[in-house]
Symmetry: C2
């Protein structure tokens, strides 16, 4: 069936504030390196006040995936909720400038646009503190079902399990996509997010997900295993495809009895923010273009390498265009 | 006389929006490469709509100088006008986090925080379009004379000649500084800005400036000469020190009959935004610390090299700290 969009991303729409910190900063704020913590407005103000000068850029896990996939040539749409404020305008500008269709109207009079405070340590790891702001207003009303039905893959970020109304929107979108004979992809997003909603994630993976993306910590949190290899047998019967990323050890693509091992693309590691998002973008851009799984994994790895080679989650389009 | 601050910067407070563009973008918008153009709110919206996704970071010429000088160990204050909005909060956070005292209150209910749309071409040149927003409200009322009198050098950016009330504030600050036995420094900022206010600049340089910073295009616009070397004789009698930067040809420090030639520090050129600002920061941080002129020029050149080696105008403090 012909599709208007290759990929529809649904996620928490936010602006990243990225700053370089030392290890003491994480210790002083009790932050667990490499993870995402939800914070309220007061904590956001307190943590921001303690952060060095930073750079702002559009973020949000699924939004990053959408922007990168569009730069790789996919036709992409995105649903997510920003406020009618300056950071919301920045988010809208950037995702639209990347060629992504973004129909969700801005929220007026409510909480401000979400922001993610990202502390990058000298080892290039990013530790994130997220104030959800306007994202909590995202619900079923923002799911344009005609667009879901017209998209080859509806890609859901696991972080959407956190804001209360989003989980319903999430399930609604998955059900519409399935009903239209489309595919549903899910990224687990974060081990602690999985821990907060483990049963709901397990059920969704079993019943509504065709393509699962997870890194080693996330799949470990879902199934109680240590290494991606140990999760292969567990995930095999649950989803059509499971894509398990393992940082510099590459990734595994599990498809029924077949397991493909994809090497990581080499990169000088500057900032790991957005590596997983970019991998999913490359994989899905190739997959919706009908490429074989090895090529999907290779494009994912190549896009991830570009993401970690620079500050920020979205490599410039001029760089990404050279990968396809 | 003891001083509370080494450097007080006064300038247009703004947030930069930096995006990589191709040469056609400049041609299509009729932009003159490497210069700064003032635009109104409507033009800002139109140009922004046509720009690729970007990165936001605090900017403003004198503010950049202040942030870099503080990272180099100088005691620094800054006056400039932002609005009570999200970008204004970003500006305040960043300059404060850099260790700069920033007493100017935010403007409520007026124009939004100024922004500078910066198009970076593949040759690493930056072309700037500035919407002045809240900066037009900056006037004599924002000049805290006690701070001026307590600062070794009051550093004025030439861009301040553009917003109407700022020129009066500018002259007031210069006069207070002179009356307190302090020094006044001026950066010419931009050849077109000099062209718009040539007579006023010439008079200020002659009567109220101790240290003049200019690049080759700017000093050329002031005196109608082509090369920095040709300006030496003209500027020699006008100011105590003239510092003429010449990109990869290094810089000239003119002090009475003496002319020092400072080589450029080597750097891979990524984005020239803020190179002049960083040079002034390094020079003034060393000069207010009592260093000889050759060391002042060398620190200026080293700071400028760090600024052009990365996107954005303010190299991280951890990098700058290694220079002193």
């Amino acid at each position: 069936m012909d599709a208007r969009f290759d990929i529809l991303g649904i996620g928490n729409a936010m602006v990243d504030v990225v700053a370089q910190v030392d290890e003491d900063f994480l210790a002083g704020h009790g932050m667990a390196k490499g993870t995402m913590t939800l914070i309220d407005a007061a904590a956001a103000e307190r943590i921001y006040a303690g952060m060095p000068a930073g750079q702002e850029s559009s973020g949000g896990s699924a939004a990053n995936t959408c922007a990168v996939a569009a730069a790789l040539g996919a036709k992409v749409a995105y649903f997510g909720c920003v406020a009618d404020d300056q950071l919301g305008q920045v988010f809208r500008h950037d995702i639209t400038a990347s060629g992504v269709h973004f129909p969700t109207p801005a929220l007026a009079g409510g909480a401000p646009t979400a922001r993610c405070l990202i502390a990058v340590t000298p080892d290039a790891q990013r530790t994130m503190n997220t104030y959800l702001g306007a994202c909590v207003a995202f619900g079923e009303a923002q799911v344009d079902e005609a667009i879901v039905a017209a998209s080859r893959v509806t890609y859901l970020e696991g972080y959407l399990f956190d804001p209360p109304a989003a989980q319903a929107a999430f399930r609604r979108a998955a059900s519409v996509a399935q009903g239209a004979g489309r595919h549903v992809a899910l990224s687990l997003s974060d081990p602690f997010c999985v821990g907060r909603h483990r049963d709901a994630f397990r059920e969704l993976v079993r019943t509504g997900v065709d393509i699962l993306f997870a890194n080693e910590a996330e799949i470990g949190s879902l199934y109680g295993v240590e290494r991606a290899e140990d999760a292969v047998a567990l995930v095999r019967g649950e989803t059509r495809l499971a894509v398990l990323t393992m940082s510099e050890r590459g990734s595994l693509v599990v498809s029924g009895d077949e397991v493909l091992r994809i090497p990581a693309a080499s990169a000088e590691v500057v900032d790991t923010t957005g590596a997983g998002d970019a991998y999913a973008a490359g994989f899905l851009a190739a997959w919706t273009g009908g490429k074989p799984l090895a090529a999907c994994g290779a494009l994912g790895a190549a896009a991830a390498a570009e993401a970690i080679a620079r500050v920020g989650a979205r490599p410039p389009a001029v760089v990404l265009e050279t990968l396809v």
